[in-house]
């Protein structure tokens, strides 16, 4: 109780004295680097530091989970993406491999060769060579990601760096460092004093209003489906409305489409806010689409991850950036051949259709749902009702800054500038410059840095890009003792990774 009162006092002050912290009775430790979040963003950042020879003892990670992929896996599991299912991610986007080589594709090809699965090995080799022109993009399975991260966790000593708990708030110290306050599962408070604070707090699932006000369990979130949901739909021939045009909606629809419409006479309806207008970006190139779905291999065009479009975005003024981001990262789904084939078949057999509009009201009607739709503004139709057995919301993730207490608290306490999109303004090196001191930096990566100079911040490659840029800037500060890799030290570190030598 005493600690809680002390904590409240600290929370109210923007600048704290180190002596006060020491006298507070709250457990305190000092590290050079601390990462708050503990997910894949933290993992990529910490892995980058470890590859650049930063000692394990200099790093702490505040996390809810033991494993950095646990939250990600939870999202996948709940949207029925099992370990054997493929993610929407590039082969070289490997959180466990700083170099991106060999990518997951070469890994899988080699595993198939070793185990005598020649045809599978041939298929992967063909995909590597011919993607995306003659074959679908290679994408790794979720299980491969988990296993590779587990291996790297052991190599870099992740477990010893993790402090399990909930980060509470961050304050500047009078000695130009920062204090990160967190509560351990034992409910005790702790403080970590650090020179460099990295924030990668993830995102929250966007909850549509009707999910909050629902009175029936037939209205579901696509990120929290029960294990037996699809079996239940199959057995009861239930009709389902799916809201959203992103990857989760696409995957759910793929599983819902009846394999044989004669045997399973159910219908699947996509409810989309408005019909697709031709998505023509400033280059005057039109994005591919089908039946209301924008088709794009990854959530941003490939060249935004590290190529010419990344440079275009960096050079653009803030308003133009927003415009480009809107057209490049609008909800889309990969143009997978099998999925498109199934969808075309379902459209032809009328077991799948697309409806445009927004939900006005959902009412139970007998054992079903009557969903009142306000049509898309441009259509001159009257409101209409569709009937279904289930409604699944796949609106996606919410990147609004207001959902993360730590970000909003930092913004309010230190009057930090934000981007037009509402996220924290960061420099090209992902630093919150307004918080920088001669011996301290606060770094934000992942969805918290959305709307800045780099587009796909919330991707595996984006997390690694943030790590690279951060390390580049930290290596210029003598007190960090970080040195950038040269070809020789890079090969040496890569060989250590290849042979799984602990660092």
């Amino acid at each position: 109780m005493k600690n809680l009162r002390v904590l409240q006092t600290f929370f109210q002050k923007p600048l704290l004295s180190l002596a006060d912290l020491k006298n507070s009775g709250i457990a305190l430790e000092k590290r050079m680097f601390v990462s708050v979040g503990g997910g894949i963003g933290s993992f990529c950042w910490v892995d980058g530091l470890r590859v650049h020879a930063v000692a394990q003892d200099d790093i702490a990670v505040i996390s809810h989970h033991r494993s950095p992929y646990q939250q990600f896996k939870q999202y996948c599991d709940r949207s029925e993406l099992c370990p054997q299912d493929r993610l929407r991610s590039d082969s070289s986007a490997r959180p466990d491999n700083f170099w991106g080589f060999p990518g997951y594709a070469v890994d899988e090809w080699w595993d198939n060769l070793r185990t005598g699965h020649w045809s599978a090995a041939g298929k992967v080799a063909w995909q590597i060579f011919s993607e995306p022109l003659l074959a679908d993009f290679y994408t790794p399975t979720a299980g491969r990601l988990y296993a590779s991260m587990e291996r790297e966790m052991g190599r870099i000593g992740w477990a010893s760096m993790v402090r399990q708990g909930t980060a509470l708030f961050i304050r500047k110290l009078d000695d130009q460092r920062y204090a990160v306050f967190y509560r351990a599962p034992t409910r005790h408070f702790h403080i970590i004093i650090a020179n460099v604070v990295h924030l990668a707090l993830g995102h929250t699932v966007k909850q549509a209003d009707y999910l909050h006000t629902k009175t029936t369990d037939q209205v579901l979130s696509g990120y929290a489906l029960q294990d037996d949901f699809f079996r239940c739909v199959e057995e009861t021939h239930a009709s389902v409305v799916v809201v959203g045009r992103g990857i989760v909606a696409a995957r759910i629809i793929e599983q819902l489409l009846p394999k044989d419409p004669q045997v399973s006479p159910r219908s699947v309806i996509s409810l989309l806010r408005s019909p697709l207008e031709a998505n023509m970006d400033s280059r005057q190139i039109e994005q591919a689409s089908f039946a209301g779905w924008r088709l794009q291999p990854f959530n941003w065009p490939r060249a935004t991850f590290g190529g010419p479009l990344m440079e275009t975005l960096q050079a653009a003024p803030a308003t133009k950036r927003r415009q480009l981001a809107k057209s490049w990262s609008a909800a889309s789904t990969p143009p997978r051949t099998q999925w498109l084939r199934d969808l075309k078949k379902a459209v032809a057999s009328q077991s799948y259709r697309t409806v445009y509009g927004q939900i006005a009201r959902i009412e139970p009607e007998a054992a079903r749902l009557a969903i009142q739709i306000t049509p898309a503004s441009k259509a001159a139709e009257n409101p209409f009702t569709i009937q279904a057995d289930y409604l699944i919301d796949c609106s996606g993730f919410d990147d609004q800054i207001a959902h993360h207490f730590i970000y909003t608290d930092l913004t309010a306490t230190y009057q930090l500038p934000t981007t037009p999109a509402g996220s924290l303004q960061v420099s090209a090196n992902f630093e919150v410059e307004a918080l920088s001191t001669p011996i301290g930096k606060v770094i934000v990566s992942g969805s918290g840095a959305a709307g800045n100079h780099y587009g796909p911040v919330d991707s595996f490659l984006g997390h690694q890009y943030a790590a690279v840029k951060t390390i580049e800037s930290l290596s210029m500060l003598p007190w960090t003792k970080i040195r950038q890799l040269n070809p020789v030290s890079s090969v040496r570190a890569w060989l250590q990774w290849l042979f799984n030598r602990p660092i």
């Binding site: 070289s92 700083f98 170099w99 991106g100 080589f101 060999p102 990518g103 070469v106 590597i128 060579f129 011919s130 993607e131 995306p132 022109l133 003659l134 280059r283 190139i285 039109e286 994005q287 591919a288 794009q296 291999p297 065009p301 490939r302 060249a303 935004t304 991850f305 590290g306 190529g307 010419p308 479009l309 990344m310 440079e311 690694q464 890009y465 690279v468 840029k469 580049e472 950038q484 890799l485 070809p487 890079s490 090969v491 890569w494």
Partner: protein, 144 residues
């Protein structure tokens, strides 16, 4: 990794020096015509550098702005064919002393060209990143 024009040019020069030169010299020594091997490498570099802006333009016309391996192969075939046509033209026009200097059998030319191209292709796809880990986030650039 999707290259920028600068990244393309730098990668091409680096690959030619690191891979093309030693492998080409090996062929030159084998043929006992080191200067011919060096001249062909020089021409190949020149053709590639002249075509790079064209490739960058085509790449920019793709929604994803990428340059997949199959397009690399097509570009490699195009550059090899242009080089072979130049060699053939010099031989056909009987320009002294260049015609005898550039005389090479089609089989040997394509063996040398495809070997060098393939090793450079594989290196570019990933091995180069082991030496230059930051280049994949810089459009393939090796230096600023």
């Amino acid at each position: 990794m999707t290259p920028t024009l600068k990244g393309r040019i730098q990668t091409r020069i680096a690959l030619l020096l690191l891979i093309g030169l030693p492998v080409g010299l090996g062929f030159g020594l084998g043929m006992q015509r080191v200067t011919l091997a060096l001249a062909l490498l020089g021409f190949a570099l020149l053709i590639g550098l002249l075509l790079d802006p064209f490739y960058a333009y085509l790449q920019a016309r793709r929604w994803d702005g990428d340059w997949p391996p199959l397009l690399m192969l097509i570009a490699g075939c195009l550059e090899g064919s242009i080089l072979w046509l130049i060699v053939e033209a010099i031989a056909a026009w009987q320009i002294q002393p260049f015609s005898p200097f550039f005389a090479i059998s089609a089989r040997l030319f394509w063996l040398m060209y495809s070997t060098i191209w393939f090793v450079m292709f594989i290196t570019n796809l990933g091995l180069l990143n082991i030496f230059f880990p930051y280049r994949r986030f810089k459009g393939g650039k090796l230096w600023d």
